[in-house]
Symmetry: C2
Subunit: 363 residues, 2 copies
């Protein structure tokens, strides 16, 4: 088990602030925000591309897409694509001018975000979620039908953009990721009402639904720049492990008392009856009465007011949150280890810090 230091400094407040590399290494307060700040121009281009390419003559499409895109989120996947491209020496093409040669990493980062957004829209329909990032979910505002169809549109649009880019290798990477995401989500349906799901099976689910797209996002940089296969493999492995660390930390944070800042309220997963690693661990460690409790609230989703506090106390008693963060830390360490074959650079250090941040963040 890897011991990781806990970040002590403030969180979102330093978003966008210029932080020197030395400071960042000492205190990876929000390494993702720092990386985003270093990629500010690329990220602004990416956001412009997203808005531009979600347009359609059918007004409901940009309206619904804007709802979910505007809700924000960390943009971690496009940031990874942009960072991996810059790290591998993708040249600066100057200011933004659409789909020009020096802008491929931006176009493809937007594709990655579109695929992610499409899966979010479909997830919320599948989960019947009423909230997404603390706001009413698209399906709650526009209906399930529109969410399914606009998800389909964004997915198709992402492929149109990849075709315009013209790299069959990138198309192969992202179409495979899309298939793997769907497989992970379907596998999750099967585990959804099964508290006896083994930990390995759960990891397989999040490997598909989350880690596959992180891996693909990181792989695009070395592919675009024609870097050697070892580097491509290293960044893919980094992305996959980072995705696992992020998802497991998300699972833990959903039950964390320190969640007000996330936009998510505590216990969203609980209320939706989601089988996540903390619950699986607490269930496995619980006595008969506790297992009965979990079966009622998660498998049968028959919940009453006092159930969340009881769940939190059971998770605490069995150390399920700490164990989940521990597993996340192992994946974060594996992500950092994967970077070793790449030449040292400020970008490499940033990606290593992001892996640490993935686990140490408090929201």
């Amino acid at each position: 088990m890897v011991t990781m230091s806990v970040a002590q400094s403030s969180r979102e407040s330093d978003l966008g602030a210029a932080v020197s590399f030395a400071e960042q290494i000492q205190a990876p307060a929000n390494a993702l925000a720092e990386l985003s700040a270093r990629l500010a121009d690329d990220l602004a281009d990416c956001n412009r591309t997203i808005v531009e390419r979600m347009q359609s003559p059918v007004p409901l499409i940009p309206r619904l897409a804007a709802h979910i895109v505007a809700a924000g989120g960390k943009r971690i996947r496009p940031v990874l694509t942009l960072a991996s491209a810059r790290m591998c020496g993708y040249p600066d093409g100057g200011s933004w001018a659409g789909n020009r040669p020096g802008n491929r990493h931006v176009q493809l980062a937007a594709c990655v975000e579109f695929i992610h957004t499409a899966t979010l829209l479909h997830d919320d329909v599948v989960d019947e979620s009423a909230l997404r990032r603390g706001l009413a979910s698209a399906n709650a505002v526009f209906g399930n039908q529109a969410s399914v169809l606009v998800g389909d549109f964004l997915f198709a649009r992402a492929f149109q953009m990849m075709v315009a880019d013209g790299s069959l290798r990138v198309l192969a990477i992202l179409s495979e990721a899309a298939a793997t995401i769907a497989e992970g989500e379907v596998l999750q349906l099967a585990t959804q009402n099964d508290l006896a799901t083994p930990e390995g099976r759960y990891l397989e689910v999040i490997q598909g639904k989350t880690a596959a797209l992180f891996a693909a996002a990181c792989r695009i940089g070395p592919v675009l720049t024609g870097r050697p296969e070892t580097e491509e493999e290293a960044l893919t492995l980094y992305g996959r492990n980072l995705g696992m660390a992020f998802q497991l930390t998300d699972d833990a944070l959903d039950y964390s008392a320190d969640q007000a800042a996330l936009g998510k309220t505590v216990g969203d997963d609980f209320r939706e009856g989601k089988v996540t690693l903390p619950v699986l661990l607490a269930f496995a460690a619980g006595d008969t009465a506790e297992q009965g409790f979990w079966r009622r609230v998660i498998e049968e989703r028959a919940q009453c007011e006092d159930d969340l506090p009881r769940a939190l106390s059971l998770l605490e008693r069995h150390g399920a949150i700490a164990a989940t963060i521990g597993r996340a830390a192992e994946f974060a360490r594996a992500a950092q280890d994967a970077l070793a074959v790449l030449p040292p650079s400020p970008w490499r250090a940033s990606l290593a810090a992001v892996a640490e941040f993935a686990v140490n963040r408090r929201s």
Copy 2:
């Protein structure tokens, strides 16, 4: 307005029977079945490819996919891809051996069917349909969640197969078609509860949701074989008009008394409150009381037992079914006209006969 002869002979019974070309011209009984029979080897390869490529380590995926694929349907889109390829001189590659050079048309026909199947799965979720081709719909058997996600999987798998094929032109055609389908479906949502939808707007909807994929399916043949742009445009136009003719005829057949053989019962669209051309025409021609009736049964979906017979009698009174078939016949004629620039061949005659069949079929 084009007057088209009504096919008098039997329907599905001659599926797969060898019919000489001369007979076919005289009585286009089921020109689609005849074309399918002429493509029997290609179509068998295509069906094998479909079964092979819908496999996944996640068992629910092939199980759900098999449910909808096994339900059959006319396979008209892959037949169009295969026919357009053969018509344009795509060479015979011998017996089936996976994704070899002489098998590209088969692989891409399967892609077209996967995209179509994905949209069907999502449509049934969107429409909350309980039946598909007379059988329980996938969403009714496996749930909405699985239908959404397996649709996503099939869509991604189609793109993986196109990438394996390696033609960026084909990828461009089918990714654009996929985006257009989604736009058509979203536009349909907006018209769904609006009996004041103008006919032109309704035609725009089906142009997107149906005709775009027919057009793309037909375009693949000339692209694969490097035929001149005029032929590519001609086959695209043929496919687009054929798709319009098929959809409008489907809309009419849903209210036809002669529907037992379709697997669909009469009035499926009616019960789902679907705004289709027959209803729009009857609404526009109706008096105040009739318009009130249509508003209640379609917009409010407040239906009771006698409503379908009343709807059928109103459609009859205003000639709405005949007018819809008339519009379909115009598109079928336009499809046939588009073929004129192509060199005469038995394939061309078959495609022309399919356009006539699109309108004259009774199921």
